[in-house]
């Protein structure tokens, strides 16, 4: 009876198509993280009283922080819905490795929540008077760093998915793990601002991303099995 069991690619397609359909059905939700980052940036500019010179100096740090916080807040939505309606159970019983499905899900989550923010970054950088020369470095560091943040976040989200009210605990757990990414990401832009070579930090981020791609899905899958026990 047992028919053709799905290949990795077919399973990936199924998850990706579903996520795309869901995002399309609830378009408004997908933009919320980006809106949040924009608001943090605006609030910060307001709190500083809009002093352009000071803003320019801290712009890259604020942008990184805003992107990171927005990602953090959207972590909650990474696995929770799938856990609550039982989709994760069905994934666990599927003949493809859970880690692979988790990887696809995380990639789609990044693409729908963080990617819009990356696209908006040049505009936000302008708001904060970021020197134009630093923009390419900032974009490169975000492009390498934010997927890594999502991967790390996936592990934490998986661990806390069984809790009823995880709220701030997710942030508390994720932030220490985010620190190295932030240090190298924001550090690369700061180095560029001082005329130093920033490629070292970017290489490190790239290496971290590769390691994250290999390890994080496995760790997240293990954490999901623990949390949903």
């Amino acid at each position: 009876m047992s028919g053709p069991s799905p290949g990795l690619l077919q399973a990936a397609r199924a998850v990706a198509v579903r996520d795309a359909q869901l995002v399309w059905r609830r378009r408004g939700d997908a933009l919320q993280p980006a809106m949040f980052a924009v608001l943090v940036i605006v609030l910060f500019a307001l709190a500083l009283g809009g002093e352009a010179r000071l803003l320019a100096k801290v712009a890259s740090a604020v942008l990184w922080l805003a992107v990171l916080l927005a990602g953090l807040l959207s972590l909650e939505s990474l696995f929770r819905a799938d856990a609550e309606d039982g989709t994760l159970e069905q994934w666990m019983l599927a003949p493809v490795p859970l880690g692979w499905l988790v990887l696809i899900r995380t990639a789609m989550h990044w693409a729908t929540t963080t990617l819009p923010l990356l696209v908006a970054t040049p505009l936000l950088a302008e708001l904060l008077h970021l020197p134009h020369a630093e923009l390419p470095i900032l974009l490169a560091s975000l492009a390498l760093g934010t997927p890594l943040l999502s991967l790390i976040g996936a592990v934490v989200a998986a661990l806390t998915v069984g809790m009823k009210r995880s709220g701030i605990l997710v942030s508390l757990l994720a932030l220490p793990l985010y620190v190295p990414v932030l240090v190298f990401g924001a550090g690369s832009v700061a180095a560029a601002a001082q005329g130093l070579d920033s490629s070292g930090a970017l290489y490190l981020l790239g290496a971290g991303l590769v390691a994250g791609l290999l390890l994080a899905p496995l760790a997240a899958a293990a954490a999901l099995r623990i949390a949903l026990n």
Partner: protein, 214 residues
């Protein structure tokens, strides 16, 4: 594989299975087996541990003691993959997707029974015409039927059904029984729980009664 020769090991076999939660035993050492072409009915009161047992067998929970064998081999996650079709209290459906989209997603992840298409499965459970309806707008009974369609579509030979009759009207109960009969005829095995005795499948059935601390 319609032949279920006696030399074959049982589809599912458990020996001395125990599960404790927070150091409280939920069910005691338990032996059971399900052959191909056979249904095992697990009965018990509210809170007797039926759901827990099914989840342990599906590998969603880890037993404290005892062993589970599938097709004669130790049940590791790899061994279980693709063999077990599980219909639990949670439907695994997305409220914002249509019935067909839901089936396509799950079939993509879990595989399909040879020669079956999602639309056919929908028809088989009496949801023809609802292909584009969002799950959000289905009634509880219709959702249950969609879950059955998913199961029917999956290639897994061993079905673990947690209270498949709940929420269904008489026609629905009839449908479940027909599905089980067809599945057993195709060489599958079924383990199902039920609350009271309001329905059971008209097939070769063994009975396991679960009480507190059994």
């Amino acid at each position: 594989m319609p032949d279920s020769d006696s030399a074959r090991p049982p589809l599912l076999e458990a020996h001395g299975l125990c599960f404790t939660r927070d150091d409280e035993p939920v069910f005691g050492p338990l032996d059971l087996s399900v052959d191909t072409g056979e249904a095992l009915l697990v009965q018990g009161d509210n809170g007797a541990g039926k759901t827990t047992l099914l989840r342990v067998l599906a590998g969603l929970l880890r037993a404290d003691h005892g062993r589970v064998r599938i097709d004669g081999r130790e049940a590791t996650p790899v061994e279980r993959a693709g063999v077990i079709g599980y219909l639990g209290h949670l439907p695994g459906l997305k409220a914002d997707l249509s019935t067909l989209e839901n089936l396509e997603h799950l079939a993509g992840v879990q595989g399909r029974r040879r020669g079956q298409l999602p639309a056919q499965a929908l028809e088989a459970v009496g949801l023809a015409g609802y292909e584009d309806a969002l799950v959000r707008h289905l009634s509880a009974g219709q959702r249950k039927r969609l879950g059955l369609a998913r199961l029917w579509l999956s290639p897994a030979p061993l079905w673990l059904l947690d209270e498949p009759y709940a929420n269904l009207d008489l026609g629905g109960i009839e449908l479940v029984n027909r599905m089980i009969q067809a599945h057993l005829r195709l060489g599958g095995g079924v383990l199902l729980t039920t609350h009271g005795a309001y329905a059971e499948p008209p097939v070769r059935t063994r009975l396991l009664h679960l009480g507190r601390g059994t």
